[in-house]
C-alpha cells in the first residue's frame, strides 16, 4: 500500500455552452444514434481550450482537460487559479456532485466537501435540529453527531441560540455553524472551497487552526481552494496552479504562488479612467513613479492621483490609498487626513495630488492599490475603488534569484563590532 490518498488520472469534463432548449433534444438524439452504431460521442471532441475571453467555435467546452494528480495522505494541497480555471469543477467531481466526462478519480476513505457551508439548513428548524440534518447530509450518522454536538455548538459559539430557528440567525452565525459541523465531520479527505472568506477575523483564525489540526494531528488529506494567497501559504505545503482547465504547475506552494502571480499579474503603473467613481467623486487617473521605467526596492514611491469632486459640502474630504501586496495583505495606508493636506472642496474641477512615500523598503513583488474617498474624517469611505492600480517592485541588481521572505526588504549593513 502506498500513502497516496487521491489519484486522478486523465480527467476530462465537458460542458455545453449556451442555453438548454429545443436544440438539446436533437443533440441527445444524435448522441444516442452514434452510441447505437458504436461510434464515439459526436460532441466529445478534445481540443477546444476553455478560455472564456475568446469566442468559442464549438458549442461544447472542456472545463477540465487531462488532469493528472496524486495527493499524499495527510497533505494539505492548495489549488490556485483565476476564476473559471476549473478549480471548482475539479472539486465538484471529487465530491461526486457531478460526474467526469472521461478519466477517473480514485480515493481512499470518505470524501467530504465544504463547498459552501450551511448547505441544506432548513430555516424553520432550530440550530440543534439543523446540526443533525446537516451532519446527516454530509454523511455522518446520528450517533456520531450526538457525540460531537456540544463540541460543534461550542466551536460555532452559538450556545445561546441552539434552540432558536435558524432563520433568526445572523448570516455570520449560519456560516460559523455550517463550518463547525463540517469541521467535526472527520472524513479522511476534506475538500474546502473559499469558506474562509466569510466570518470575522477571530473565526477565520479558528477555522485555519482547525484545518491545520485536522491535517497534522489526524493525518487527514485536505484540498483547499482559495484566492487568498496568504491563507494558501499558511495552510498548504504543496499547491497546484490551474489555468483554462489544465493543470499548469504542481509543486511547493511558494513556487506555485510565484508561478501564478507571474502568469496572471499585470503591472500597469499608469492608469487612466473614463468612467470611474460615483456620485461623490470621479477618478480620472492614478499612477506610480510614472517617469521611471521600473520600480526597485528602496525607491521613493510617488503616487499621482487626478480626480474631481462631484458635490461640495461643508465637511472635509480625504483621499486615502491602501497598498496591498500579492497576498492581499495591507502593507500601508496613506491618507491626506494625516499629512496636513486639505484637498480643495470645490466640485466639478479636476485636481491632482501627489503622495510621496519615502524610505518604503517594500520587498519585491506585486502590489495593488485601493482608492478611497473619506468624508468628514469618518472611518467609512463614501467611495472605494479596488485594484485601481497594480505595479511591481523589482530587485535592483539581480545577481542570483533570491527572493527573501517578508513584507519589507530593508537595506542592511552588517559589520564586525
Amino acid at each position: 500500500m502506498s500513502d497516496i490518498a487521491i489519484k486522478i488520472e486523465h480527467l476530462y469534463k465537458q460542458y455545453r455552452l449556451g442555453v438548454i432548449g429545443t436544440g438539446t433534444l436533437s443533440h441527445d438524439l444524435n448522441r444516442f444514434f452514434a452510441k447505437l452504431m458504436g461510434k464515439d460521442d459526436p460532441y466529445a471532441k478534445v481540443g477546444e481550450v476553455n478560455d472564456r475571453t475568446q469566442k468559442s467555435t464549438s458549442k461544447y467546452v472542456w472545463a477540465l482537460q487531462d488532469i493528472n494528480l496524486e495527493v499524499k495522505q495527510g497533505e494539505v494541497l492548495g489549488i490556485i487559479g483565476k476564476n473559471g480555471a476549473g478549480k471548482s469543477t475539479l472539486l465538484k467531481i471529487l465530491s461526486k456532485v457531478t460526474a467526469p466526462t472521461k478519466g477517473s478519480i480514485k480515493a481512499k476513505g470518505r470524501i467530504a466537501s465544504l463547498l459552501e457551508v450551511g448547505t441544506g439548513f432548513h430555516p424553520e428548524l432550530t440550530g440543534r435540529e439543523n446540526i443533525f440534518l446537516n451532519g446527516a447530509i454530509l454523511g455522518m450518522t446520528k450517533a456520531e453527531i450526538k457525540a460531537k454536538l456540544d463540541e460543534i455548538v461550542a466551536f460555532a459559539g452559538i450556545e445561546k441560540y441552539v434552540d432558536t430557528p435558524v432563520k433568526r440567525y445572523s448570516s455570520g452565525m449560519k456560516v460559523r455553524l455550517g463550518f463547525a459541523i463540517a469541521a467535526h465531520l472527520e472524513p479522511e479527505i476534506l475538500v474546502v472551497d473559499e469558506v474562509l472568506a466569510v466570518g470575522d477575523a477571530e473565526f477565520q483564525k479558528k477555522a485555519i487552526g482547525k484545518m491545520q489540526d485536522v491535517s497534522k494531528n489526524d493525518g487527514r488529506t485536505v484540498l483547499f481552494v482559495s484566492h487568498n494567497m496568504a491563507s494558501i501559504e499558511a495552510l498548504c505545503n504543496y499547491s497546484i496552479v490551474m489555468n483554462n482547465g489544465c493543470l499548469e504547475f504542481n509543486g511547493k506552494t511558494s513556487e506555485a504562488i510565484d508561478y501564478y502571480l507571474k502568469t496572471n499579474f499585470e503591472s500597469t503603473p499608469i492608469k487612466h479612467y473614463t468612467n470611474k467613481g460615483n456620485e461623490h467623486i470621479t477618478l480620472h487617473s492614478i499612477s506610480v513613479n510614472k517617469n521611471s521605467k521600473a520600480i526597485y526596492i528602496g525607491d521613493e514611491l510617488e503616487f499621482e492621483v487626478t480626480f474631481e469632486l462631484k458635490r461640495t459640502t461643508k465637511t472635509r474630504f480625504d483621499i486615502s490609498l491602501q497598498l496591498l501586496n500579492e497576498k492581499n495583505v495591507v502593507v500601508a495606508t496613506v491618507s491626506t487626513a494625516f499629512c496636513n493636506y486639505e484637498i480643495k472642496n470645490i466640485s466639478e474641477k479636476k485636481q491632482t495630488i501627489v503622495f510621496r512615500l519615502q524610505n518604503t523598503w517594500l520587498n519585491e513583488g506585486y502590489y495593488s492599490v485601493i482608492f478611497r474617498l473619506v468624508e468628514n474624517r469618518a472611518n467609512r469611505a463614501v467611495y472605494r475603488g479596488d485594484d485601481v492600480l497594480t505595479f511591481e517592485i523589482k530587485q535592483k541588481v539581480v545577481q542570483e534569484y533570491i527572493k527573501t521572505n517578508g513584507i519589507l526588504r530593508p537595506n542592511v549593513i552588517v559589520e564586525e563590532k
Partner: protein, 289 residues
C-alpha cells in the same frame, strides 16, 4: 509521468468514473445513509406545520372538507352512485389513498429541481430524497387512515345502509398502500429525472394528476360507468389499486385478484425503468438543471 505504479495491488474506497452499469444501485450506501432518510422525514414533517396553530390537524381537515364537497356536488347534485356505500364514506376512503399517491407524486417529481442547491454542493445517494418523501407522507397517510377508521365505525353505528362485516381480507390493506406508494415513487422519480433537462413535463404533471383522479376510481365507481369506459379503468393500474384498497378496508365487494396481479407486475417493470433513468440522471444532472 509518474503514474505507472502497480495499480492492482491498491485498494481504493472510492472510484469516480463517467459511466456505470444501468442498474447499479449501491444498496449498502443507501443503508449507510439511513439516518439521513430519517432526518429528511423529520424535517418534512416538522417543518411543514411550524408556525401554524392547528399543526397536524390540517391533515384531518383537508380530507373531510374535500370528501364533503364531492358528496354535495357529485352525489347530492349529480346523483352519482357510490357502490351502495354511504356516499361520504365512499369518497373519503378513495381520497385517503389517492391523497397519498398524489402528494407523493407531486413532491417526488420536484426532487432534482427543488434540491438543486443541496445536490450541487454535497453528494449523498439522491434516491434518499424521493424515498424520504414517500415515507414522510406515509405518516400523514397513517393519520388520515385513523380518520377513515373513525368514519367506518361511525357509519356502522349511525347509518342504516352500511353494516361493517369483519373479514380476514381487511388485514391485507397495507398491500395496496405499498403498491400505491411504489407507483408514486417510480412515476415521481421518472418525472423528476426527465424535468431536469426538459421542464415541459412539470406543466403536464400539474393538471395530469387532477385528471388522473377521475380515471382512478377515486370518486367515480367503475361499476357505474358505461362499458366502454370501464375497460379503460381496468387497464389503469392505479384504479385497480384504489379499488383493491376499498375492497379490503370497507369489505363491500370481493377483491379482483387478476387486476391486483396485473398492477403489481406493471409496478415492478415501471419501478425498474424509473430507477435506471433516475440513476443515469443523478450523475450529471447538475450540468443540465
Amino acid at each position: 509521468m509518474m503514474y505507472k505504479q502497480k495499480d492492482s495491488s491498491e485498494s481504493w474506497d472510492i472510484v469516480i468514473t463517467p459511466k456505470t452499469s444501468l442498474l447499479s444501485i449501491d444498496w449498502k450506501e443507501i443503508w449507510r445513509y439511513r439516518d439521513l432518510l430519517q432526518m429528511f422525514v423529520r424535517r418534512d414533517f416538522v417543518a411543514q406545520y411550524k408556525q401554524t396553530i392547528l399543526g397536524p390537524l390540517w391533515f384531518l381537515i383537508q380530507p373531510v372538507f374535500t370528501a364533503y364537497t364531492y358528496f354535495l356536488v357529485l352525489n347530492r347534485m349529480g346523483n352519482m352512485p357510490t357502490d351502495g356505500l354511504p356516499p361520504f364514506l365512499f369518497y373519503i376512503a378513495g381520497l385517503t389513498i389517492w391523497n397519498y399517491f398524489a402528494t407523493c407524486l407531486t413532491a417526488t417529481s420536484d426532487t432534482f429541481i427543488s434540491n438543486a442547491h443541496i445536490f450541487g454542493k454535497v453528494y449523498f445517494p439522491r434516491i434518499i430524497v424521493p424515498l424520504s418523501i414517500v415515507v414522510s407522507n406515509l405518516i400523514k397517510f397513517g393519520i388520515q387512515f385513523l380518520l377513515l377508521i373513525f368514519f367506518i365505525i361511525y357509519f356502522d353505528w349511525k347509518s342504516p345502509d352500511f353494516d361493517f362485516h369483519w373479514h380476514v381480507n381487511i388485514l391485507l390493506f397495507p398491500i395496496p398502500v405499498l403498491l400505491i406508494g411504489g407507483f408514486a415513487l417510480s412515476s415521481g422519480m421518472l418525472v423528476s429525472a426527465m424535468t431536469t433537462k426538459y421542464r415541459d413535463l412539470r406543466f403536464l404533471l400539474a393538471f395530469g394528476v387532477q385528471l388522473l383522479m377521475y380515471a382512478s376510481a377515486v370518486i367515480i365507481s367503475p361499476n357505474s360507468v358505461p362499458e366502454k369506459y370501464a375497460t379503460i379503468l381496468k387497464f389503469n393500474p392505479i384504479a385497480n389499486i384504489v379499488e383493491f384498497f376499498k375492497a379490503t378496508i370497507l369489505n363491500h365487494q370481493s377483491i379482483d385478484w387478476p387486476a391486483v396481479i396485473y398492477s403489481t407486475a406493471f409496478l415492478i417493470v415501471f419501478l425498474l425503468i424509473s430507477i435506471i433513468i433516475f440513476n443515469k440522471t443523478e450523475k450529471t444532472f447538475m450540468d443540465t438543471v
